[in-house]
């Protein structure tokens, strides 16, 4: 499914809509360069779990930000992880699946095998503030029925 947005507000709103489709155990991988709106999208997804927009900030520094929502929400940011072998040192595997919802920025850092079951969101800068947002792994009819 391909969407386009023309502002950070659009990206946030698409994130919110996606968040409403998520259930415990889901993992969302966000793919896209610096400045394409990944953290903005996380703010939108987190809003669907009752987490305030101002409470979601970049997680690049801490790598993992945990929110005591129901279900628990993990905001993961792998920006600083350059090699696959370093992933195990981050502790992210303890956050994925089970009873929680996790959203991973820079999901490129995780290999194909391990990200097979992710819902994937690809963000592309189209210039002039416009973004293409392609979502893989959800049913278009669920999206349209929201």
């Amino acid at each position: 499914m391909k969407l386009t947005g023309s502002s950070p507000e659009d990206t946030e709103a698409i994130g919110y809509k996606l968040g409403r489709l998520l259930k415990a155990g889901d993992v969302v991988g966000l793919y896209g360069d610096l400045g394409t709106g990944k953290t903005t999208m996380v703010k939108g997804i987190a809003r669907a779990f009752g987490i305030g927009s101002r409470d979601v900030t970049s997680a690049s520094f801490t790598i993992i930000a945990e929110y005591a929502s129901s279900p628990p929400f993990y905001h993961i940011d792998l920006y600083r992880i350059e090699r696959g072998s370093d992933l195990d040192d981050t502790g992210i595997w303890d956050c994925l699946g089970r009873e929680s919802v996790a959203v991973i920025e820079w999901a490129e850092r995780i290999g194909d095998e391990l990200s097979r079951d992710f819902i994937k969101v690809f963000l592309t800068d189209l210039g002039d503030g416009r973004r293409e947002i392609a979502i893989d792994g959800i049913h278009e009819e669920d999206w349209n029925n929201l």
Binding site: L34, S58, S60, T62, I63, A65
Partner: protein, 342 residues
Amino acid sequence: MLILGIDTSCDDTSAAVVEDGKRIVSNIVSSQSDIHAKYGGIVPELASRRHLEMIMPVVDEALLAAGISLADVSAIAVCHGPGLIGSLLVGCSFAKAVCYARDIPLVAVNHLEGHILSPFLETPAPTFPYLSLVVSGGHTSLYIAEEYGKYAEIGRTRDDAAGEAYDKVSKLLGLGYPGGPVIDKLSEAGNPKAIDFPRAYLPETLDFSFSGLKTAVLNFLRKERGGQRTGSSSFILHPSSLLNDIAASFQAAVIDVLVRKTEWAIKKNRIRQIALSGGVAANSGLRKRMKEMGEDKGIGVFIPPVFLCTDNAAMIASAGYHHFLKNEIAGPDLNPRAYLQL
């Protein structure tokens, strides 16, 4: 009265002995930056393992340097958040165990309170109320310190912390981690007006936003350097006047926002004193500009020396002293929290 302070909130293992909340008797900081440099930042799991190795020798050294033993300590103050949970756990578990074994009172201190009160470790110290700008890799927040234990947050970053913007831009420029010192250094030789990077002033609030600035630097580099980029991270820039200009122009954009918003906060709250703390407060450009602004406006500016701006346990011991005076003692059920409100 001597307080032993312990801080393991991020990547530095630190222990300090402070007398009466003011006089630093010893302050030991064991930095891990060499361990984390190859990752372009701190890796939480590695940090906690390193804390585990370092906590005992660092505390021993702090006591030794102070020429005292645990028997001379009135209380142990430990940072219980905010920070990396695995790192905080090491300091808290250690402090709880020592306090239990030696029957020493335990005091819990919020890391941000430590930063806010750090100017009291110097003379002259500010008097309440004062405005505190805490600016680091994990935080960029404005507080009004009304009295010991009473702080009102009036602004914070909505996305990246200022220190994080430094680290991200440093990575884009292939300058490594941490980004602050190297960009600060290059800035000295650059023209801060060479490139007009955007300043997100968010005039309706005292909140900050540094995410767009990093994107602007990326877009500038894309235009300037085209495809010469290694993977999704660094552009290849050799030492040059262009590199210096980018560093200086980026730094000017960060500092303009920090100083201007501090100025607004002073005006809005009719406050006459500012304190600066956190890792980015070590930045020479920011220190200079904040002092100039203070002189210009007739405002007292209190900036602790660099070793008290970056993470340290002396500020934890100092803040802990005031909790101890109020008999605010933590129990054995104290648990650290990665997100902890002041």
